[in-house]
Every structure is written in structure tokens, then in C-alpha cells.
Subunit: 409 residues, 2 copies
């Protein structure tokens, strides 16, 4: 059961002019399951993406990077579930390219105008024949108002489809933003495949797209993925179809650029948080805020140490205010000159630890009350500077073990 995550609201999933989506059942790993999605993008769109830093990045990620860097212009995306095409060596690259070539042939495009995405089991051979055989069905399904099916089509261990949208005025023009995401392996989210796709009909130059994608990722998907500590397949792609009537946005710092970016960030953040809320076995959504650091980077480092601690995560699962486990994680986060006597800890508004020791006024029942909630904010104050940062995580439950022990069964 996802934590406080409703099903997508269809009225929010705006069609994006210039972008059509088709979904089919290609039988890639299992029968009777939507597992192949095509996204068709009209000529003239601006496209960029942010990809995993994992040195064992999957074949499709390698190819996405190359194709986005080419000047041909991205015109289609091809997303399969059931197989990650990661840890597959040169053969995996060749297979990913063959799927691009197959889709490009049907659309009269060059192969490097297609971005491939795969998610599922690692180190198994991509069944290119099934993907090729599924393309006609996916293309026949393609239409602008197909976002909900797309959100369903990219799910793996997700328990619920993830799709959000928004509209915003750019000058006198109303533009639409719609996105989908998937991913659920959440004890260390960086090890699951996360996919996020965010599209708008707004007009924004290709030159700005990489900056936009990076800034959006930094405020959303990168809040629960550490650089260099990400899965083989994580991908976040942003598309502007440039179909809206307003003048193209030339700077993200302009009023129009700011308005668009903030609206897109809001959707991206919902998409990212949805992955945490649907974390494998998650029963709680936990925001970890670290304040009073010397740098934002060290705040994030401490926050991730807490978020990754299985002892902390099982304590949240048990609603047990065994909060010394949080202090222990702060202590081993790798800040060599950290002075424990400067550290305070809050659980929501409850002041648990003060100057590195138990707050004399702290009562266990207050901690217990907060721990029982489904949404909790942990705040650590380092007491050595003005920097702060926040990340999101979930708890570690029996269901996490069940899901991951049985994933391939």
C-alpha cells in the first residue's frame, strides 16, 4: 500500500500538443501486462535528460546519452518493462540499438532520433523480437490523451500508477505540464530503476533544456538519489513540444522562465515523492531535514546516512522512537570534524536530543506519538553553519524483504 498516494486524477493529466503516446502488451517477460510504451514527438521539440551516474549504467542509458547529444532532434521514445538490459555488455548495446532502428524504420526517422528506456530484471538478454513485434500495436494505440495508460505501461513493482499535471500562464498563454514516473525499490532508492518523464507544450529553446532538466532533477528526483550511487537505469527526461503560442523562453531567470520552471518543479516533485510513497513495502513517508551544516553537501550527506540506515528504517516501521539510531547515523555520516555536543534532533516539533544528549524535557510518549504517524519529519541541527537540505525516504518493512526476495519468482 502506497503511503497517502491517490490514484492519478485524470482531469489533471493534460494532453500535451505535439506528443502522442501508445501502449501495448508485448509479452516481454509476462503475458497480459502493459509492458511497451512509445512516445511520439512532433518535429521541433526541445528534449533533454538526466541519467544515472552508475558506472554499470545500462545499455539504453548509454544510447540515450549519445542520441540526446546528437543534433538530429529527438522524435520518439521507446520504453519497455520486464527487462533492464543492464549488465549485458556489447550485446546489450546492440540490442537496444536494434529496437531504436526498428521504431525509426516505422516512423521514417534516423535511429538516433529515438531514445530507448528499459526497466526490470538486470543481466538478462533483451528480447528484441518481442519488442519489434509489439511496435505496431503500440503505434496503433498512439494518441495525445493517453497519459494514464503510459503511467500504467511503465510500472514494475509499483503498486499504483504515478502521473501528475499542472497548468500555468506564460504571459497570456495557458501551457500544460504532464508527467509520469515509476520506481519502487526504495530502501536505497538509488538501486531501483526510476524513470521520470515530464512534458510541456511550452516553448523553450533546446539550448536551455539541459539546464532545465538538471535544475528540475536537483529539486525532485535527485532528492532521493545520491550522485554516484544510483541504479543502472535511472532516467529523467524533459520534453517541451514548443506548440504553445507564447514567445520562446530564452532564460530560466526571466519571469516566464521562472513561472514555467516552478510549475514543472511542482509536478516533478510530486512524481519523485510518489516513488518514495510507493516504496517497496513502505508504510511511512519520511522527510529528513538537516540544518546548521557548513555546506549543503554535508547536510545531504548526513541526511542520506540517516535515510540509508536499516536500523533507523526498521525503527520507523515499528513506530519505535529508538532515536539514538538516528544519532548513530549522524555520527558515521563521514563528517570528520563533527562535534557531537553541538547536535540537536527533532521529530516533527518534538525536541528529542539537545547538545548531543537526550533533551531532559523529552518524553518517550511524545516521540511515540510522532512515530505512529504516516508522515514524519526528522530534523537534525548540526550547529556548525547556515546550510540546510531535505531529502525523502520511507521505512523498511517485512514487505520490502518479501517483495525483493520474490521479485523474479
Amino acid at each position: 500500500m502506497a503511503v497517502n498516494l491517490p490514484s492519478p486524477n485524470p482531469s489533471e493529466l493534460h494532453s500535451i500538443r505535439g506528443l502522442r503516446i501508445g501502449v501495448t502488451e508485448a509479452g516481454i517477460r509476462k503475458a497480459n501486462r502493459k509492458d511497451l510504451t512509445v512516445v511520439l514527438i512532433d518535429e521541433g521539440a526541445s528534449v533533454s535528460g538526466v541519467f544515472t551516474q552508475n558506472r554499470f549504467c545500462a545499455a539504453p542509458v548509454q544510447i540515450c546519452r549519445e542520441h540526446i547529444a546528437s543534433p538530429s532532434g529527438i522524435r520518439a521514445m521507446l520504453i519497455n518493462t520486464g527487462n533492464a538490459n543492464a549488465g549485458t555488455g556489447e550485446d546489450g548495446r546492440a540490442r537496444a540499438l536494434r529496437t531504436c532502428t526498428a521504431l525509426a524504420g516505422k516512423l521514417n526517422l534516423a535511429p538516433n532520433q529515438v531514445l530507448p528506456f528499459s526497466t526490470g530484471v538486470i543481466m538478462e538478454t533483451l528480447p528484441v523480437d518481442r519488442i519489434e513485434a509489439g511496435l505496431d500495436g503500440a503505434l496503433a494505440d498512439a494518441r495525445e490523451d493517453n497519459w494514464l495508460r503510459a503511467a500504467e505501461g511503465i510500472m514494475t513493482t509499483d503498486t499504483i500508477a504515478k502521473a501528475f499535471g499542472a497548468q500555468v500562464m506564460i504571459g497570456d498563454t495557458r501551457v500544460s505540464i504532464t508527467g509520469i514516473s515509476k520506481g519502487a525499490g526504495m530502501i536505497r532508492p538509488n538501486m531501483a530503476t526510476m524513470l521520470g518523464f515530464l512534458a510541456t507544450d511550452a516553448c523553450i529553446s533546446q539550448a536551455l533544456m539541459h539546464q532545465l532538466a538538471t535544475e528540475l532533477a536537483d529539486g525532485s528526483f535527485n532528492r532521493f538519489t545520491v550522485d554516484g550511487d544510483t541504479s543502472t537505469n535511472d532516467s529523467f527526461v524533459v520534453i517541451a513540444t514548443n506548440k504553445a503560442a507564447h514567445a520562446p523562453i530564452e532564460s530560466l531567470d526571466s519571469p516566464e522562465g521562472q513561472a514555467l520552471k516552478l510549475a514543472m518543479l511542482e509536478v516533478a516533485r510530486k512524481l519523485a515523492q510518489a516513488i518514495v510513497r510507493d516504496g517497496e513495502g513502505a508504510t511511512k513517508f519520511i522527510a529528513i531535514k538537516v540544518e546548521g551544516g557548513k555546506t549543503k553537501a554535508e547536510c545531504r550527506q548526513v541526511a542520506y546516512a540517516i535515510a540509508h540506515s536499516p536500523l533507523v528504517k526498521t525503527a520507523f516501521f515499528a513506530s519505535d522512537p529508538n532515536l539514538g539510531r538516528i544519532l548513530a547515523a549522524v555520527g558515521y555520516a563521514g563528517i570528520d570534524d563533527l562535534d557531537q555536543s553541538g547536535i540537536d534532533l527533532y521529530l516533527d516539533e518534538v525536541h528529542v536530543a539537545m547538545k548531543g544528549g537526550r533533551n531532559p524535557l523529552y518524553r518517550e510518549e511524545d516521540g511515540q506519538r510522532v512515530m505512529k504517524q504516516s508522515e514524519i519529519t526528522v530534523c537534525v541541527v548540526l550547529g556548525r553553519g547556515d546550510a540546510y537540505d531535505t531529502i525523502w525516504t520511507c521505512d523498511l518493512s517485512h514487505d520490502y524483504v518479501t517483495i525483493n526476495a520474490d521479485y523474479r519468482s
Copy 2:
């Protein structure tokens, strides 16, 4: 159930001349439980220790460091379970010192001749009164042949007592070595409290003791604890009572020094591996060997990335050869210039991955066969140098979650 870990063999637990141990039930957290242990050391012993790198190190660890550094000579150790006295600030330090003072008073020693150790729940107030009240009972129990009770007296979530011993000839003199350990929070062992105590009646100068303790830890307890990523209370103490008849060992590189060190290392390694075998919820003992690295440090870094991955650990629990998860962990271990096409993976003798992709000869049933064993060796070949290293870990099971969700209940 610990993995292939028998109960201590009493005939192996040699008395160490000059060292007596007493254990009692002091009711520190729960009644009817051995929870307080004193170790009395005759004058003239050589003592050193290795302690956690956690910046939130517990009060007793801080005090152990200071007392070991003082020239007074360590004469006693005081070990309690049920309370870690960590995350307790200045008050925690004062309380740990009070217990040293109390024991010193009864033995006519200076307080800084006593080493305190605490293990249990973090961030709760140490009940000094109960410890003080228990001292007479512990002292009344003190005798040389009490190692088994000591091993029982320091257990927390351990399912089995951990004690090993050996004898070795130094010249014409037979010397004895006996040790005990505890610790069981094992998904990231660094976050549990591990205690290890190793004693010998051999003669070795105090000047050599720190080197000896460090080298023994490096070959045993530090094989499953990363620097800077350790619990608040981890401690490993080595004691030489200097009672044996041989001439004092002046160098670890001498034949006598080598012989003693190797024999002690063997016992230390068994004590450390016992903690992994009794890892919370563990069903498998896994050695992770990384070869072909540029440096030993990078081999260890990769090994720990694998060992810490919950996805890898749940796959081992499920006996599921979902081995791409291991490659993914290699990829995010943080080696920036790692070339995935140089990497091979073995499971015992089964060659799973070759040059970053699936070995064409690999058959799933071979991987499955190895995964079903209770002892497994994972070998990753990085293909970029001659360095290698090995660490030990266990799997992640339902029982891990149960134990850690219920620990304080």
C-alpha cells in the same frame, strides 16, 4: 539461528593467568539476565584497543581512549549490556566515569585504571545505581575459568555465545589465547555494537600492544566495519598478562612475534566471523572477494557496496541468483573511472558475468545451486590492477526486520 556457528567449546576456553572474570545479573534493563561483567587484570599486563570511528562515539568509548592513553596501567574492565550510554552527552560521560570510580574504589585502583564498556539501547540514561549495586556480586564471581559466562554476560541480541581459544608455542613455552565477542546487528555491521576482547598470557611489551591490536583488528573485526562508518560503541581490546615464562616479545616481525600474532589473529577472525554468522536474521554467511583492483582500498570499497546492498542481501536470502544486483552495486561503489567492460563475476566457481555482460556459458541452475548453500563466496574481478581484499557479510531476511522492529519491546 546462527549460520554454522556451534556453541563455544569449553575445552578451548583456556584460563589466562593473571586475568579473572566475574559476571552477575544487575537488572540493568531486564531482570534475570547476565548483564554486568568485570574483568580483573593483574598488575603488569599490556593492554591496548581499537575503537569506533563514529563521531557520535559513546561515552565509555571516549573514556576508554583516555584511560588507555594514560600511563597508570589498566587493571580492570567493566562491561554492561542493556544500555549503550551513547548519545547521552556530558551526563553520559559523568555516569561512565562514576562506574569506573565505583569499581576502582572496591579494588583500590585509580579510576583511570578501569575501562568501561556499554552495549544496548542508545540515548537512554545509564542506571549507575544498578551497576554499582551489582559490583559486589560480579566481584564475588571472579575466577580465571569463567570465559563462557563472560561470553554469555556480554550478549544482547546475539542468539549464541561467542568464545574461542587457541594455544601456541613461543620457544619452549606454551601460551594460551582466549577471546569473546558479541554483536549481531548485521545488515550493516558497523551500526551494531560489536565488542571483542582477546587475552593471552604471553609476554609482549606495552609499546607493541597498539600495533598488535591494530593489526589484529585489520585482519578480523575491521573486515566488516568500514572506517568512519561504525557504530557508537564498537570496541576491540587486546590484553597480554605477561605471565608466561618466555622472554618478552619485542617485535611482531620476530619469529616469536609472528607466531603469537598469527595464533591470535586466528582466534580474532573466528570471533569476528561469529558475529557475522550470528547476524540478526542471518541465514547465510557470505565472503565477498574483490580482485584485480588498482588498490586494496578500492577493492574494499566495492566489496562493501555489495555487502551493504539490501537488494543483494535479499536476493541471497531468497537463494535467487538475481546477480545483476551485484553488478549494479559494483557500478555505484564510487570508482569514477571504472570500465564495466573489464568486469567478471563469480559465485563460488561459477563464472556468471564476463567483460561486464552475462557469460554465455552461465546457466541459471548453476547460480541457483550456489545460492542455496549456507556459505557462499562472491568474487568480483575488476580487471584493472593486482590488488585484492575480502570482507564478510550475511543476508537480509524477514527476521532482521522482526528483530530490529521489536528490539526495545
